[in-house]
Each structure stands twice: as structure tokens, then as C-alpha cells.
């Protein structure tokens, strides 16, 4: 009982702040997009303050290299954002609340066992709370629902789902099986150790084991899509065990919600 209130206390403000952040980020994204475009057109970047006159004046003429493309997805096969939802930011929300929450319990961050125990008891409390009520899409936004948990973590160089996260996946499976029009993206991630493309493959395996688990729990294969980001999008940008344990993850991101 004490655990339940504790978890609630932490989750509510975190979710609110995460949503606020997401709102801001969209604005800022637009701003920085603009900046990007300007940078792209500024092709003529060269150093002229070193190595005397050999540094700078290569830029006219046919040797010039054209900065182009633009990241806006001009040649893209994008089909994900058709609902007008920024899935990236949604991922950010769930990631942030998941990561920050387990750090926020005030335990020694290096003590993985203590973190695990706290996560477990928070999950138990949430499970107990929502036991008799069927899950609905509205629960995704309810910080007291187990569906607010949308990130699960993995061991180093492993893609096996840890027992403690199965109740979370089971809850999402229940919702998705009852609402077959709902769609999720399973975003796999890895910590920074090891080579980058290997980590993409590793993060794909993590997303895939989650997909298979959900599929086993009656979620339709058309409801799920994997995206593997490897080590490219760490949740915690530092370089230690605590950061790594938060970065080895799969995020469950609701697309059509």
C-alpha cells in the first residue's frame, strides 16, 4: 500500500513534465529545422585561418561539393506519421518517465538489485490496483495504470525478456488484443559498447523478442512494427553502468492513439 502511493507520487509529476517537454520539443524541432535548412544551403564552409592561403578558396568552380538532400524525408518511404502524431516525441515521453522514474526512487543508482526491487514492487502495486478493471486506451495516459510503463530493459548483449517485465508486456498485450485497431511501434535500443551496426542488429532482436511475446499473447502482427535504433538514441547520454542499463531497452510507442 505504501509502495503504491509512492509510485503514484513519482509517476504523476513525471508524466506531466514529460508531456510538457514533448510540447516544447515540437516547437523547438520546428525552429531547428529552419536552422538546418539554412546550414544546408551554406555550402561554402572552409577554414581560412590556418595554413595560410591554402585553406580557403576552393569553393567556386566544379570541385565544389553540394550539400543537399535535406533531412526532411524528401526521398522517404514514411508512412508512420500519417496520424499526425509525432511518434518520436511519444517515445521520448515513455522513455523519460520510465528512466527517470526508476532513478527517482532515491536508491543508490549503482545498485542494480535495489533498482530492480523498486521497479518490481512498483509494478506489483500497479498490477494490484488495476486488477479487476479491464484496460482501456485511456489507461495509457493514466500514470497510475500499468500501461504507463512502456519501456523494458535488457541485460548486456542479450535480447531475452526478463521475467520482471512480463506483467507490463502482458498488460499491453491485453489492451492491444481487445483493441485491434490500435498500432504500436517497438523501438529497440542498445548501449554504446560494441560496434554501431552490430548494436542495430542487437536492438532489432530485442524489439523482435518483444514482438513475438506480444504476438503469443494474441496481438495481431499487423498491429506491431519494429524499429531498431542501435546505440544512436541513448536515453541517458553518459558513459557508465547506470546509463547503459537504461539505454538497453525496448520502447512501446502507441502510434494510433
Amino acid at each position: 500500500m505504501k509502495q503504491a502511493t509512492r509510485a503514484q507520487i513519482y509517476l504523476l509529476p513525471l508524466l506531466i513534465s514529460a508531456l510538457t517537454l514533448a510540447g516544447c520539443s515540437q516547437l523547438q524541432n520546428k525552429k531547428s529545422d529552419k536552422k538546418n535548412r539554412m546550414t544546408t544551403t551554406t555550402v561554402n564552409k572552409s577554414g581560412s585561418n590556418r595554413g595560410q592561403d591554402f585553406s580557403g578558396k576552393d569553393l567556386a568552380g566544379k570541385e565544389r561539393l553540394i550539400g543537399g538532400g535535406g533531412g526532411g524525408g524528401s526521398a522517404s518511404t514514411d508512412g508512420f506519421n500519417s496520424q499526425g502524431i509525432d511518434t518520436k516525441d511519444l517515445g521520448m515521453d515513455s522513455g523519460k518517465s520510465g528512466g527517470a522514474q526508476s532513478q527517482g526512487f532515491g536508491v543508490d543508482p549503482d545498485s542494480q538489485a535495489a533498482i530492480d526491487a523498486e521497479i518490481q514492487s512498483a509494478i506489483d502495486a500497479l498490477m494490484a490496483e488495476g486488477k479487476n478493471k479491464p484496460l482501456t486506451p485511456a489507461d495509457i495516459k493514466n500514470p497510475n495504470s500499468i500501461l504507463a510503463q512502456r519501456v523494458i530493459y535488457f541485460d548486456y548483449d542479450q535480447a531475452t525478456i526478463l521475467e520482471k517485465y512480463k506483467p507490463i508486456l502482458a498488460a499491453h498485450a491485453e489492451l492491444l488484443a481487445n483493441y485491434p485497431e490500435m498500432r504500436i511501434r517497438l523501438e529497440g535500443h542498445a548501449d554504446e559498447r560494441g560496434s554501431r551496426e552490430y548494436n542495430v542488429a542487437l536492438s532489432e532482436r530485442r524489439a523482435e523478442t518483444v514482438r513475438q511475446y506480444l504476438s503469443f499473447k494474441n496481438v495481431g502482427s499487423e498491429q506491431m512494427e519494429n524499429v531498431a535504433f542501435g546505440e544512436e538514441k541513448p536515453l541517458v547520454p553518459s558513459h557508465d553502468n547506470t546509463a547503459w542499463s537504461k539505454n538497453r531497452r525496448v520502447e512501446i510507442n502507441y502510434v494510433t492513439y
Binding site: 561539393l65 543537399g68 522517404s76 560496434s195 552490430y198
Partner: protein, 420 residues
């Protein structure tokens, strides 16, 4: 007298460029030479108007094969075409002397053998719009004349930078001269960019971009900026690598449920699956003759390098030392790779067919090794104070230079082939 006048003209020109064009580039990498060979071929370099001598000196240094010496005082000896007296030559404690001049027709260079006073080479580098390239071309000729190895200073590096913090991160794909100068943005995105790979003619880059929300492989012409998607399948589209003759691109796809190596024909788009294993198979690299592919697989439990014929067949394990070996890059018989020893990820060099390997890096999380086209230098990514930067090290480990981005992280260097 006329020659003096042209000297003044070029000096004035240099000054103008220095002052009139302020440094517009915030993205230029900062270069630090942290180590250079003390026992290389001793070579003295006389001043050249315009400063080409500094570029030539830096190039020869980073090969790890030369110990350079700067001639500062202007004597007859240091002037291009000046008389060579044996007694004055003896005062220079070096095997070779380089002198040159920047003229309207190009950059003239003399390579003089000090013991004999004879000219080992005299040549002219014609004008190129990127004037630093003229000095790199001169360094290539000097390097080749002395070491009998083809020079690879006049080449390029592609690399990826990331700036900002979640969720406003920016990713950029750059190309620059191989010493980090003259950076140009090739692609700008707010989603990750990965794994640049040069076409063998140096005119295109294949890379992975998440700009559509998930991974896809693109090919972009570096001169026109035109790009096209070559693989946007379900799941992973990763690790593109051009075959040596440019007709095929090897890549890692998970369209069949699990990451496997595939080969795409550039001409007709035909896709052929090369590996079939339940484990991770990724990071293909072509052997120099294009007949074999070396890739990373964890089929034995942990990541190791395996070799498979490019037309298909049995994969054989190649690495047995180190608990993790990955990300091979091949030039000739040299294979650069990432190796974990204890908790450290380091760059190692092994020989094709050999079993041993030399560890050539000293970081904790070194990755993405890329060999210069002549195999004498290796670029790789490392971390300094938690920030990504690039290192270029000579294959003998004697010279090392670091390339930092003024802000954010630099990673995934890809060394271009020879530029035509």
C-alpha cells in the same frame, strides 16, 4: 626580379585571403597532432609562398614514416631552383630537402637528396580549385618517391556528427579533406545517420538514414547532392558497403526476420541473400579482389569475424582472440577491426590469412576503423571526456592526430578511395 615580384604578389594574395575571408566554418574539425615519429626518414622542408610547406609537412608527419624539419631562414638553398652547394647542404641534418614555389601555373616542387645534392624529383602540381589539395598532391608524390608506396593524402574523409540533446538532436553527414579541412555537409537530419561508405570512384556515398522514421539505405552523389533510396525494407536496412568494382553493394537486412548479409546489384537492383543463420550477421566488408566478404556474427555466442565467398557458401570463423571482434575494414591484406580486450574496445590490425593482430588504439570505446586506400593510416572514432572524436593513426602506430568537432560528437569516419 620578376620572380621576386610574383613572390610578393602571392604573399599579398595570401594576406588578403587571411583577412578578407574570416573563418566562416564553425563545423571544421580541430586538428591536434598528439604523437609523431622520431625515427622516420629525416626530411627538411623549406618555406613555400602560400604555406604549402606546412600542409606537406603535416601530411608526411601523419604517415608515421618521416621526421620533419622546418627550414626557417630564407637562403639561396631554400629557394626553388636555387644553387645547391655541397658544403651548405651538409649543414642540413636530413636525408632529403623539399623546396617549392607557388606560381601562376601551379605548385612547383623539388625533392633533393642531400647526400648527393641531386634532384630526386622535380614536378609541378597544376592548379586545383581546392588549393590545399595541391599541397596534398605534392605530399603524395614525395611520399611515393621515397617510400615506393602510393600516397593517400589527397583523399577525403566522410563522417557523422551529432549536436544538441534529446529530443532536439541534429545529425549531419560531412565530407572533408583527409586532414579534416574543407568540411561540407552532405546530409542534415534530425534523425540518426549511420555507416557512410564510399563508392570506389569516390563520387558517391551510400549511408543509412532514419529520416523517414526508420532505417533506409541511400546513395548520394557528392557533387550534385542527388540521392536515391536503394533499400527501404521492413526491419533493418544497414551497413552498406560497396564492392571493389562498384557493381554491387553488400548490406545487412532483417526483412526475412533476422539480420543477414545480402548483396544488391547496383545495375539491376537484384538482391541476393548471402548468409542464413539465426544469429546476428552484419557489417560486411569486401576483400580487395571482391571474391570474399568478411562480416560480424554472434553465431558462436559472441560477436566474431567470419569470412564467406561472395558468391555464397560456407562461412568460416576468422578471429579467435578477444571476446568480441567486429566491424572489419579491408585494404589489400590488412584488416582493421574492433576488438574487446577485457572491458576495452580497441582498434586492431590483422593480416588476411594471419592469426595475430596488433592493437593500435588506446581508448576504451574505440570503434568504426577505416583504412586509408594505401593502408598506411587508419581513422577511427573514440571518446574523450565523454565526447566522440576522430583519431587518425599511422599503421606503425608512430604518428597520431586527433580531430575534434567544436561542438557535439564526431564519429563513423569513412576514408575515401583515391580521388581521380
Amino acid at each position: 626580379m620578376t620572380s621576386h615580384d610574383t613572390h610578393w604578389f602571392y604573399a599579398l594574395f595570401a594576406m588578403l585571403i587571411l583577412f578578407v575571408l574570416p573563418s566562416t566554418s564553425t563545423a571544421e574539425l580541430e586538428l591536434h597532432i598528439s604523437k609523431s615519429a622520431g625515427d622516420g626518414v629525416p626530411i627538411a622542408i623549406a618555406p613555400i609562398s602560400g604555406g604549402a610547406n606546412f600542409i606537406i609537412e603535416a601530411d608526411l608527419k601523419r604517415s608515421g614514416r618521416f621526421t620533419t624539419q622546418r627550414l626557417t631562414n630564407k637562403t639561396k638553398l631554400s629557394i626553388f631552383g636555387g644553387a645547391l652547394s655541397a658544403t651548405v647542404l651538409k649543414t642540413i641534418k636530413a636525408e632529403y630537402l623539399i623546396r617549392g614555389r607557388l606560381a601562376k601555373t601551379g605548385l612547383d616542387i623539388e625533392l633533393i637528396e642531400i647526400s648527393t645534392g641531386s634532384k630526386a624529383a622535380v614536378f609541378r602540381i597544376g592548379h586545383v580549385t581546392n588549393r590545399r589539395r595541391m599541397a596534398h598532391k605534392a605530399a603524395d608524390k614525395i611520399f611515393e618517391r621515397i617510400t615506393r608506396l602510393k600516397g593517400a593524402f589527397d583523399t577525403r574523409l566522410a563522417y557523422v556528427t551529432s549536436t544538441g540533446h534529446r529530443p532536439n538532436k541534429h545529425y549531419r553527414l560531412y565530407i572533408a579533406d583527409s586532414d579534416g579541412y574543407n568540411p561540407h555537409i552532405i546530409l542534415n537530419s534530425n534523425q540518426p545517420i549511420m555507416s557512410p561508405s564510399w563508392s570506389p570512384d569516390g563520387s558517391k556515398l551510400a549511408y543509412v538514414s532514419f529520416e523517414s522514421g526508420k532505417s533506409a539505405i541511400y546513395v548520394q552523389d557528392i557533387f550534385t547532392g542527388k540521392k536515391r533510396i536503394i533499400s527501404g525494407k521492413k526491419g533493418i536496412n544497414g551497413a552498406p558497403t560497396w564492392s571493389p568494382n562498384g557493381s554491387q553493394i553488400a548490406m545487412s537486412l532483417s526483412v526475412d526476420g533476422n539480420s543477414e548479409i545480402y548483396i544488391l546489384s547496383v545495375h539491376n537492383g537484384a538482391l541476393k541473400r548471402l548468409t542464413n543463420d539465426r544469429a546476428i550477421d552484419t557489417e560486411p566488408a569486401w576483400s580487395g579482389d571482391g571474391r570474399a566478404i568478411i562480416f560480424t556474427s554472434n553465431r558462436g555466442g559472441a560477436a566474431q569475424l567470419y569470412k564467406i565467398p561472395a558468391h555464397g557458401g560456407q562461412a568460416r570463423r576468422m578471429t579467435f582472440m578477444g571476446s568480441y571482434n567486429s566491424a572489419a575494414d579491408i585494404v589489400g591484406n590488412k584488416i582493421a577491426l574492433v576488438r574487446r580486450n577485457g572491458g576495452q574496445f580497441r582498434i586492431a590490425i590483422m593480416q588476411m590469412g594471419g592469426s595475430g593482430a596488433d592493437i593500435i588504439s588506446t581508448g576504451k570505446y574505440d570503434e568504426s576503423p577505416s583504412l586509408a586506400p594505401n593502408g598506411t593510416m587508419i581513422a577511427y572514432a573514440t571518446q574523450r571526456k565523454g565526447r566522440g572524436k576522430l583519431v587518425v593513426v599511422s599503421d606503425n602506430g608512430k604518428s597520431k592526430q586527433e580531430l575534434h568537432a567544436p561542438e557535439g560528437e564526431v564519429r563513423e569516419p569513412a576514408w575515401s578511395p583515391y580521388i581521380r
